[in-house]
């Protein structure tokens, strides 16, 4: 994206007064919401967990929206241009089973333990060591991610609209800081629900008009096959029999076990940023239903993310019958190919949306970036206040003191994010490293949490050493691949035909396996935890309370079965 910004002497488009009006209205509304809910965020429960009074629908939409940042939207739209429909796996098998597992199996433990955070659960189950390790790594990563989001927004605004980078960074940061500092998680959740609606309002016209232009899905598939000379780009599973048979260079085992099991379950069930949204639910049934509702909406997201990338791949000039878009990788951008994959979403927006609709689309992107920052900063302030400051620095402060600390840590978190944004601006490669850093912790953390919830014999020492060794193994494999090049990659991903995407999936799988093995071995070598101490924390030692569902339609399990059935049907349709 850096090279892109440098090459373009003028921006892609400009905003008309009606577009600016739409953008300004959004800023006015979010700032108003911050001031409006401030009166309801006086206690720590209200500030950090939105008073635990959100309905299943609000928590569920916020849960899915927290992951629907613009960085992801633009990145996966670009990936679908690059890899075809395979990118859809990150929205379906890479999300749906894990979201349902969180709702049906894990949520009761998170919810009835009354924990404030995922590191907080680790403290209850495995002690202070595991909590400290998880809290420090999560806090550090979250604040860096907020900075990356901030810089990405600034860069996108510069490329599309020619805005000054510092202007975008400061306007975004100050707005987010104001509404999160005032309203805490409540503000963040309300804005995430608004953002979810805005993303659809701003982006849904692209696939609708695109499919009209292409002449429908069947025609689009034929045009893609004609443009790229292969039918591999429109099949979800049939090309995954061998690494060399598909554009992504992956094997179905990597997609099913690496992505569908470890990466996905790790992210959706242990990343506090998303789990925090569900913890805000007002009762156990709502907490179980929220991820199920989130999963149903998540299945629809590829329509506004993956389809635009496929449209860019397939749309042809009606006279010459040749592809209109010729997008390249970031490093290959030049005068002849001025646009990269990552610009596919804004390019499609400009293709179909004139003044007014363009403003709505840009507002949706800005809302996505800002809610990404807000999500990171609100999760950071919770983990900092509860799991670092409250656990290790000042254990006996009043509730008011912790709320004040939450507000201050929001502001300081934003300032560190701004610093990170400027650091990334100086060295774009930091962005890739920060994103890679997240993958170091997620897979082993899932191993630790799932064993802690489902296996009574797991001990404190087992949990701590499993998490530590699993994380160290993930980092070691990353460094090994970085230094060892394609030979190292082929060893991690088990094939000489494997591509970097496969390495990420297999690295997660191996680090999860290592975490689980170390946890099991160390647990058997150490004294078991008395069962009485595991009540409310572990399956088998905890009577699961009734969630209050009276009829079939009130049961989260019923809706989970509906969602997973639709999931299977969709995978078969696009096989």
């Amino acid at each position: 994206m850096q090279s892109m910004a440098a090459l373009l002497t003028t921006q892609l488009t400009h905003l008309a007064p009606v577009d600016i009006l739409i953008l300004v209205l959004y800023f006015v509304v979010v700032i108003f919401i911050g001031f409006y809910v401030k009166g309801s965020t006086n206690t720590s429960e209200e500030f950090f967990l939105a008073g635990r009074e959100m309905s299943a629908w609000v928590a569920g939409l916020s849960f899915v929206s927290a992951n629907l940042g613009s960085l992801e939207l633009m990145g996966w739209a670009g990936a679908s241009y690059q890899y075809g429909i395979l990118a859809m796996h990150w929205y379906w098998i890479g999300a749906i089973p894990a979201m349902l597992f969180l709702g049906i199996v894990m949520m009761p433990f998170y919810y009835i333990s009354k924990t404030h955070s995922v590191p907080g659960y680790l403290q209850l189950r495995f002690g202070e060591g595991s909590r400290g390790l998880a809290a420090v790594s999560f806090g550090f990563m979250t604040i860096l991610m907020s900075g990356v989001n901030m810089y990405a927004m600034a860069l996108v605004m510069k490329v599309i609209l020619g805005w000054n980078v510092s202007f975008s960074i400061w306007v975004g940061a100050v707005t987010v800081a104001i509404y999160v500092m005032l309203g805490g998680l409540r503000s963040a959740i309300i804005n995430e629900v608004l953002q979810f609606v805005l993303i659809w309002a701003g982006a849904a016209l692209i696939p609708i008009l695109g499919l009209v232009e292409a002449g429908g899905w069947t025609n689009l598939k034929a045009q893609i096959a004609h443009n790229v000379g292969s039918t591999d780009y429109t099949h979800l599973w049939s090309t995954l029999g061998h690494f060399r048979d598909n554009p992504m260079g992956v094997h179905w085992t990597g997609i099913v076990f690496g992505l569908g099991f470890v990466v996905s379950f790790g992210y959706w069930t242990t990343d506090f940023l998303v789990v925090q949204r569900v913890l805000s639910a007002n009762n156990l049934r709502a907490a179980k239903m929220a991820p199920v509702i989130g999963a149903a909406f998540k299945m629809a997201v590829p329509f506004i993310v993956i389809v635009p990338g496929l449209l860019a791949l397939g749309i042809q000039d009606p006279h010459t019958h040749k592809a209109i878009f010729h997008l390249v990788g970031e490093n290959a951008v030049d005068a002849a190919h001025p646009f990269s994959y990552n610009e596919v979403l804004p390019l499609m927006l400009i293709r179909y949306c004139g003044p007014g609709l363009l403003g709505l689309g840009i507002t949706a992107l800005v809302a996505g970036f800002m809610s990404g920052m807000a999500g990171n900063v609100s999760a950071f302030s919770t983990v900092w206040t509860y799991d670092i400051y409250g656990a290790f620095i000042n254990k006996k402060a009043s509730d008011q003191h912790y709320v004040a600390m939450g507000r201050w840590s929001t502001v300081i978190g934003m300032l560190v994010s701004i610093l990170t944004a400027y650091l990334v601006a100086d060295a774009a490669s930091i962005m890739d490293y920060v994103q890679a850093l997240f993958s170091f912790f997620i897979a082993p953390l899932f191993g630790t949490v799932v064993l802690g919830m489902l296996w009574k014999r797991a001990t404190k020492q087992g949990g701590f050493w499993g998490l530590l060794v699993g994380t160290a193994a993930s980092i070691s494999m990353f460094v090994y691949t970085l230094r060892g090049g394609s030979t190292a990659l082929s060893r991690i991903a088990l094939s000489v035909d494997a591509k970097p995407m496969a390495e990420t999936l297999y690295r997660a799988l191996w680090s999860w396996c290592i975490c689980v093995i170390v946890t099991v071995v160390v647990s058997y070598m150490t004294k078991p935890t008395p069962e009485a101490q595991l009540a409310g924390l572990v399956y088998g030692a905890t009577p699961i309370p009734d969630d209050g569902a009276k009829t079939l339609f009130q049961k989260p399990m019923f809706w989970a079965v509906i969602v997973i059935t639709v999931f299977f049907i969709l995978n078969i349709v696009f096989f």
Partner: protein
């Protein structure tokens, strides 16, 4: 009940969703009508379908119905 905004508040989270989309509909609808009937269509692909006008209609209907349904009413303060 004013869902999602806290105890003692009048405006529900769904009211904000409705109000923002209604405002956008009210902005887009006349602008789209001016483009269509005034011959000022922007040079985008498929502009003959008048997407700004029809999207404005959709947002106005969606936002209007949510705003109406979740409008603050007397005695509707959230006590949850």
């Amino acid at each position: 009940m004013a869902e999602g905004t806290g105890r003692g508040e009048m405006l529900s989270i769904w009211f904000f969703v409705g109000a923002l989309t209604l405002i956008y509909g009210i902005v887009l609808l006349p602008y789209g009508a001016w483009e269509w009937f005034g011959g000022h269509e922007s040079p985008t692909v498929l502009n003959n379908l008048h997407p700004t006008f029809w999207w404005g209609v959709l947002l106005t209907l969606f936002g209007g119905s949510y705003t109406l349904r979740y409008r603050p009413r007397r005695g509707d303060v959230n006590k949850a």
